[in-house]
Symmetry: C6
Subunit: 77 residues, 6 copies
């Protein structure tokens, strides 16, 4: 289940927006590290993309990842 791809060379981003997109990417990579089959992930998409409970749960993951990235970038002050 090791994910050989280096998808996170750095936590440092130029802007908060890039930080936001990195947070969404990290959330997705966690799912991919657990469910490694891309075909299954594609089939599962409709399970959560139309389920508000799961969209809210996903937004929680993004919020936690973004909190880490924002601290890493000293909040782009």
């Amino acid at each position: 289940m090791e994910n050989p791809e280096n998808y996170i060379p750095s936590l440092i981003t130029a802007t908060p927006q890039e930080g936001r997109e990195l947070a969404i990417k990290l959330a997705r990579k966690s799912i991919a590290a657990i469910q490694t089959d891309p075909e299954i992930r594609k089939k599962l998409r409709s399970d959560y993309a139309n389920d508000t409970n799961q969209l809210i749960g996903s937004a929680q993951v993004v919020a936690i990842e973004f909190q880490t990235i924002a601290a890493a970038n000293n909040y782009w002050r």
Copy 2:
């Protein structure tokens, strides 16, 4: 699924209230980055807006996002 719009130029806000509104905006943008179809999002609204469990889950996302924004603004001390 890339969201080209730059919806977060900065984490810095003039007041805690603006920080609060930014936190709510970020929570929503996470949902939009996952469910990119605005028509589907509009239809889904009634699923969570009248479900207290999901309203509470949403409030958790806002609380985490606000925690990040408050730290970014040094708590508007």
Copy 3:
């Protein structure tokens, strides 16, 4: 859905108890920012006030908001 009311002029409170009450207020304001109809919110109250699962979820929101407020007040040391 913009909430014009400025319900959070500051994160600074005189005591931990006031900080606690601000945390509970912020949690509620998040719900109100999402479900803006006070009549619906009143009707929904019984859905969560007697559901321990949702009371626990609400307590999580208060705990996260209080964590932010306590840090803002340097833990009232």
Copy 4:
């Protein structure tokens, strides 16, 4: 719904154990601030005390509250 009782004069405790007990107390006070009727709370107890899902959710609240109290006490170093 205002809880006039001052149940949290300070976040500072002599020991981690007292900090732990304060965290459990804060978690409970959140529930009491939302469901203010002690008779209803007593009746609801069996709903969560024998439900592992809700015991785990309660442990999450205690963990977040303890995180705040531990930081307030500089981890009792």
Copy 5:
């Protein structure tokens, strides 16, 4: 419901591994502080030990407790 036992004399541990085991212990002690009957807890074990949803919820509690302990130990740098 007071838990007289002093199960957390200190947050300081010699190694991250000990910090990990303390985090798991704290998570369990929270459950024991809420459901104080050891016989009931033993009976409830099968409810969560074979339920992946609850195993994941438990792992969240451990992650939050470990976050506190790691900060207390300055990450064992």
Copy 6:
């Protein structure tokens, strides 16, 4: 239930990617510390690997563990 194996000699990693993989490892070790039977864990895998709700819950655990590891490594600045 003591897990004698020392699976976390240090929180320090060379890169964010290694930090990410450590976070996933820690999340799994929490599950193993609670459900110690590897055969049962193997059987349970299909319960969560195809359930988006549980994949999202798992991603939350990884996000919290990674937050701790990133702080330990001073965000690999």
